[in-house]
Amino acid sequence: MEQLTLPKEKLPELLGEIGSKFELIGPKEENGFLAFRKINDPKEVNLDILLSRVPPKSLIFQQTETLFTYAKGKDSKIQTPKIDESVRVIFGIRPCDARGYDIIDPVFMGKKEGDYTDPFYTKKRNRSILIGLSCNEPDTNCFCTSFDDSPANSKHVDILFTDIGGTYFVEIVTEKGEDLIKNLSKIFSKATEKEGTIRKETEKTAIKAISRKMNTEGAVEKLNKMFEHEFWIEAARSCIGCGICTYLCPTCHCFDMQDESTLKLGGRVRVWDSCMYEEYTHHASGHNPRPSRMNRVRNRVYHKFNYFPKNDGIFGCTGCGRCIDYCPVNIDIIEVIDKVKEVNV
């Protein structure tokens, strides 16, 4: 892995150059929160706020995706939209959000040769080069370290930037990252050993700053035994059934298919859906296998902490803390898992 450095004041120059050659996406402040948007001017990039409100999963697994359109009448033809496959650079993505992609990749891109791959997700994923940014100051509800992750983990991005004070320590992680750097003018310097040490110290300090911890040990096995437990009624009592926890989750990936048409034109769209809604499992027959909030809250917890580990060997949670930050009734997933472990079965 190549290790370079970039003085902080050169960042606008770098982003300007990337932006002139490729599509550049980055974190931008909008209405008081951070959102990943197309960057036209490097000045728009905001690196002071830790996490974007809506996770960058929305860049690849879009909230609304038009699968095809059609016109009615004799000459009607089905048209599939052309998906842009040119290189796109996503700058400033945090390690936990990048890890979110790794967690949901198998869902859309298959696990082995021959599995179905979703063209929309796959092409957007492949065209994206991720330039990550380590978190030096984790927030209140960050708990990525509970999943053997780190606020400066380079594993899930192509290039990782770490702020070591006045300078960015830049790690080129993948071939994709290498290719990008080759394409750019030589504004990076080789990192010294001392800078490497500072980077490691910075990571250690950030890890120490994480105060919340989820104890997942034995959670899968415990959940195996308590599906019918009345604990779930208690856990869901205050849930109001909004979709914040799922829509703001970097690993939630459920969607609904809808045909939307006017008199002459129509299309099929794929839109985000949430297991927190009553309608989510409502059958055409009128039957609903998850009739109450207890069923739905239970499903969210099981999907992340039981089904995901059993199917893919990984927890469906990155520890970003958004569901805790924005739940209007303080349903705290760390507390839920703690309580799961206390339940007597």
Partner: protein, 328 residues
């Protein structure tokens, strides 16, 4: 000032009544300035109840979230009351629901709290970020909030943290209650909700630009609807597929349709608790829509929602003597 001891005693007594199923109130949350809705099924459960200026959540939404499981043959529905801790606006929400026959007065026992206004969770979290432990806040008699963080005591002028909707609240005392905790607050002169005036001063184009900026961020999670005590339709028009009033595609056009339709459906019904705006994960200033409609309803029909259970709902009433200045 609400004494927690007195609140707990009242909750204990209420939940011990034979005709009460459970009591809903507040307990301390898991971090920072978060509070949690609390459900007491026994006097023991009541011990964790508390009240402080952090208790913004409108709990009136819960009685209608009750899930009634299908009855087995020979089984009879249980007719027991739900106790709820209510501030002024929460009580008005219950009145409004009773007016609309969503609930009957007999369904609830209202434990009234004379309210001095609640803290805006977004404002206080911004002022004191990164609090991983619960921090309580008290209010003194000098219009200041007092809180202690890491051994240091902070005094903050109330005005800096108070929710915007509370500044213009006309009904701090619950108009309807069964038991009142402490003494009723003196009526105070509410401020005008000036965020609406600011908007009205803008040109149509500027106003549209403003809403466009906000609506394009809407992720249609429907937290505004779910948090709202008056959004209790069994099937929301946004969920209907046949006919489909609002498409599921998330874009500016559909998002605008959703937010405007919701505001219309709350005309003469919204009681200004501000729960929708507080819940919105993308900071849409929803109360500006609601307050605008509230103002129109007040000016044109001299109607205020949620004050009297016997009054007819706004859209279900006709008064030949209403101001009707808008008809020329």
């Amino acid at each position: 000032m609400v004494e927690n001891k007195e609140l707990i005693k009242v909750v204990e007594e209420t939940v011990s009544r034979d005709d009460v199923k459970y009591v809903i109130g507040y307990k301390r949350g898991t971090y920072g300035f978060q509070i949690k809705p609390a459900f007491a099924y026994s006097a023991e459960d009541a011990k964790e109840f508390f009240y402080s200026p952090l208790c913004s959540k409108n709990l009136a939404t819960y009685p209608l979230l009750e899930e009634k499981l299908p009855l087995r043959r020979g089984e009879e529905a249980e007719h027991k009351k739900i106790g709820i801790v209510v501030k002024g606006c929460d009580s008005r929400a219950i009145i409004q629901i009773i007016q609309e026959k969503g609930l009957e007065k007999e369904d609830v026992v209202l434990i009234g709290i004379p309210c001095k206004g609640v803290i805006d969770p977004k404002k206080i979290a911004k002022r004191f970020p990164k609090q991983s432990k619960f921090v309580d806040v008290e209010e003194n008699n000098n219009d200041e909030y007092i809180l202690e963080i890491g051994g240091t005591s902070h005094k903050i002028p109330k005005d800096e943290l108070l929710s915007d909707v509370c500044k213009s609240c006309e009904y701090p005392n619950p108009p309807l209650y069964d038991i009142l905790i402490g003494e009723a607050e003196e009526e105070f002169q509410p401020e005008h909700f000036n965020r609406v005036d600011e908007l009205e001063e803008k040109t149509i184009e500027k106003r549209w630009e403003y809403w466009e900026k906000h609506f394009q961020n809407c992720i249609r999670c429907y937290a505004c609807r779910e948090a709202c005590p008056l959004c209790y339709c069994k099937t929301c028009m946004a969920d209907l597929l046949e006919p489909q009033w609002i498409r599921r595609s998330v874009n500016l056009s559909e998002n605008t349709a959703w937010n405007v339709m919701r505001a219309f459906h709350l005309a003469g019904r919204c009681i200004s608790c501000g729960e929708c705006e507080r819940s919105c994960p993308v900071n849409i200033p929803l109360m500006e829509l609601n307050k605008f409609v509230e103002k129109e309803v007040k000016e044109m029909f001299d109607y205020t929602a949620g004050l009297d259970t016997e009054e007819k709902p706004f859209l279900g009433s006709f008064r030949p003597d209403d101001p009707e200045d808008f008809i020329s």
